[in-house]
């Protein structure tokens, strides 16, 4: 699923990154960054309600190229800059975590985002 489709499905707004052609195979919804690092697979979009620079850092370490902030959360400017520097797309959606994940799943993003 392309970033542009994610934006449409989540009626979301892009805050950083212009590469809408990035393709993801699955998603991971988590607020605990250590869990993201423990379990996440390749090519995922990370959905989170946690807003701090360590989210971008975690994404960087895990080669996660797309982060969706749920519940209408918006990171501060410094975080957006950090994401831009790392080539990470940041999206914000007004949907809460459950609905955001559900909408992406219903639209066909059904791959497992984490290791068993």
């Amino acid at each position: 699923m392309k970033v542009s489709e994610i934006v449409d499905i989540l009626e979301a707004e892009i805050l950083s990154g212009s590469d809408q052609e990035i393709d993801v195979c699955s998603a991971c919804g988590a607020d605990l960054m250590s869990d993201v690092m423990a379990y996440v697979k390749e090519s995922v979009v990370l959905l989170t309600g946690l807003v701090n620079p360590q989210v971008v850092r975690t994404a960087e370490m895990m080669d996660i190229k797309v982060i969706v902030f749920v519940r209408g959360k918006k990171p501060e400017e410094k975080m957006i800059e950090l994401a831009m520097e790392k080539g990470i797309v940041i999206i914000t959606t007004k949907y809460p975590m459950f609905l955001a994940c559900g909408r992406l799943y219903s639209a066909g993003l059904t791959g497992r985002g984490v290791w068993d």
Partner: protein, 142 residues
């Protein structure tokens, strides 16, 4: 990669979560530039990042030394913090002594050391109460 050994030292500032991860980020960049396999890069980046966060949370910062040769990546994080009273417990998933302020950042859930062990090919921890802790992570490149 040529035959030499690359060494780099980073200072990890204490209690500064906005810059926590800089050392790991720079190391990741160096490894990419050297053309190291992506899997080895990720293993190094994640394990070093968790160790870096640990030094910030528990020890008021520290020092990270990395050494890269043709066979392996060695990451040594040294701090002068309080030491780990019960290392066996600290290695268990879910065991944490981190304060709530750290949990709010998405860490402190007792996954740090277990994650380091998960990604490191070799892990050695030396700790002494009141003196500090050294975490040595080895990742084999091939």
């Amino acid at each position: 990669m040529s035959g030499g050994i690359i060494r780099q030292r980073f200072v990890i500032p204490g209690n500064d979560f906005s810059t926590a991860g800089e050392a790991s980020s720079t190391t990741k960049k160096i490894l990419s530039q050297l053309g190291v396999k992506p899997q080895a890069i990720k293993k190094t980046a994640v394990s070093m990042y968790e160790a870096e966060i640990n030094a910030v949370i528990h020890a008021g910062g520290g020092v990270a030394d990395i050494e890269i040769d043709q066979e392996k990546i060695l990451v040594k994080i040294t701090d002068e913090g309080p030491g780990i009273p019960d290392l066996e417990m600290a290695m268990k998933e879910g065991y944490s002594t981190a304060p709530d302020s750290v949990r709010e950042l998405g860490f402190g859930a007792g996954m740090g050391l277990p994650n380091i062990r998960r990604y490191a090919d070799k892990l050695e921890i030396n700790t002494e109460i009141g003196k500090g802790t050294t975490v040595e992570i080895t990742i084999y490149i091939n």
